[in-house]
Amino acid sequence: MIYLGIDTSNSPLALALIEDGKVLIEETSNLKINHSLTAMPAIEEMMKKAKVAPADLTHIAVAEGPGSYTGVRIGLTIAKTLAWSLKIPLHPVSSLKVLAANGQGFEGLVCPLMDARRGTAFIGLYEGSSLMPVIGDQHSDVKEFLLKVKEFNRPVLFTGMDVSLHEALISEVLGETAHFSGMQNRLPRASNLILLAQESPESNVHHAVPEYRRITEAEANYNKAQEGQPL
């Protein structure tokens, strides 16, 4: 069994190959590169290094979002096309859960986040021991979400490369219960993605779609306009 893991849901690119529970190769870059241009060459290069041919793959794991809309789509398009055309299972995993796995084993809660501008983030809350979701992934005002987290009154580990943008606010709201992962543990790791994928069900390849956790601006405006109309 050989799993290929692909996470392009934010500016880092994370790839890995795991064969029968052994990590063959794992790559994480944080170079703000264009995934559309570089993801496939990086996959090709990595598989060449590991001497794994496309036909040797038995499973594809992919980060399904939330995150950058375009980034999530690139990873999912590549993963869907590989899985469908090689006739192998596809396992989508929450991009936030992949980040949360950086804090697995933390005695308390793990809160992964990705900045989404204007004081908002894609954010979720997971149990540190089991990585079970405590509050579902969502797009939220950061402060509002932190107030919900505060109610648990438990230690919380924050992870994700955008944590630094919100560190002051997090400390202000949560005080001493807030903990921050080291910078080496803020990037997504595709080995974690694959390990999570092994526990998650395979998805119908054709129906696998990004979990954007946010409707488009055009739809939001359209909905507002519709609501404004008399019935």
Binding site: S36, L37, P54, R73, K80, T81, T216
Partner: protein
């Protein structure tokens, strides 16, 4: 004896998710198009983020259907051809990444095709091309006159300096409160009208093969505005006919002059607006009179499709023009020759 060539084409440059298998660049084996038009209608135009979302939902389904209808397996294909540009960047890169992943999975050559080259080669699926050739590509995103000395040799001799023709059609249609996309509605109204408002013909400077449609569009808007201020009712069909007459006369005039100057053996038109009845009948009659063979592909091949990408991709494949895994969607890709 030459072996047959089978190319999988993929097209996602705007609001159609399409895949097709073409044999020898001339014969359609399967041709699948998933249109998003219903989804964009409520916004009065294509919303790029929504187009991208639909492409990722449809892409593997559409490619699978193209293979199933052709009763073919990936290993029977010679290459994968995909629209590399121009188009909406977020939309293009769905097709490009799917094509790259498919080519990688089955170790097939990858060919990146220019969308306009595709529109021109759509003709080859119904009628072999004869050179030298003049092609008009006219759609919601493009208005270009292209001269071809031979396969893969493109010289853009004229293009729009502002709006694409189809864009002007849609804008005029919107001011007439016609539903999106407005082109076919204007065509229908114009066809039924017995009178036409006299709008200007925008020829630009003498000898130019370029087009401009925004001035004409403004004239139409001014006419509507002035009529509204005077409290006069306008007849939408007279406006539609006047607008369409101006477009048709200028496009036909420039094409005829170019066809004669370049002494072409064949004239072809392609793109969504080439389906316009008024334009089609005007072009047919002038080229018939001049005895220059003129062709327009049937409607499904005029609008965006992947068979045309596979058709153009076949010629590129034969020339060994392969792309790499580093191919990206190129929204502003220029049309360059392959020779």
């Amino acid at each position: 004896m030459n072996k047959d060539i089978y190319i999988l084409g993929i097209e996602t440059s705007c609001d159609e998710t399409a895949a097709s298998i073409v044999k020898n660049g001339t014969e359609i084996i399967s041709n699948v198009v998933a249109s998003q038009i219903e989804s964009h209608k409520r916004f009065g135009g294509v919303v790029p983020e929504i187009a991208s979302r639909h492409h990722v939902e449809q892409i593997t389904l559409v490619i699978e259907e193209a293979l199933q209808l052709a009763a073919m397996e990936p290993h029977q294909l010679n290459a994968v051809a995909v629209t590399e540009g121009p188009g909406l960047v977020g939309a293009l890169l769905i097709g490009v990444n799917a094509a790259k992943a498919f080519a990688f999975a089955h170790q097939l050559p990858l060919v990146g095709v220019h969308h306009i080259a595709g529109h021109i080669y759509a003709n080859r699926l119904e009628q072999e091309m004869e050179f030298p050739l003049l092609a008009l590509v006219i759609s919601g995103g493009h208005t270009e006159l292209i001269y071809m000395k031979e396969h893969g040799d493109f010289t853009v001799i004229g293009e729009t300096r502002d709006d694409a023709a189809g864009e002007a059609y849609d804008k005029v249609a919107r001011t007439l409160d016609l539903p999106y996309p407005g082109g076919p509605h204007i065509d229908r109204l114009a066809h039924a009208s017995d009178e036409a408002i006299a709008f200007p013909r925008i020829w630009l400077e003498e000898g130019s093969y370029d087009f401009s449609f925004s001035g004409l569009k403004s004239s139409v808007l001014n006419y509507m505005h002035n009529a509204a201020q005077r409290g006069e009712k306008i007849a939408p069909e007279h406006v539609a006919a006047g607008f369409q007459n101006s477009v048709v006369e200028v496009v036909t005039g420039k094409m005829l002059r170019a066809a004669e100057e370049y002494k072409v053996q064949q004239v072809i038109a392609a793109g969504g607006v080439a389906a316009n009845k008024g334009l089609r009948s005007s072009l047919e009659s002038v080229f018939k009179e001049k005895e220059i063979p003129f062709y327009i592909p049937s409607l499904p091949l005029c609008t965006d499709n992947a068979a045309m990408i596979a058709a153009a991709g076949t010629v590129m494949y034969e020339k060994g023009l392969y792309g790499t895994m580093a191919m990206n969607g190129r929204p502003g890709m220029p049309l360059t020759s392959w020779i």
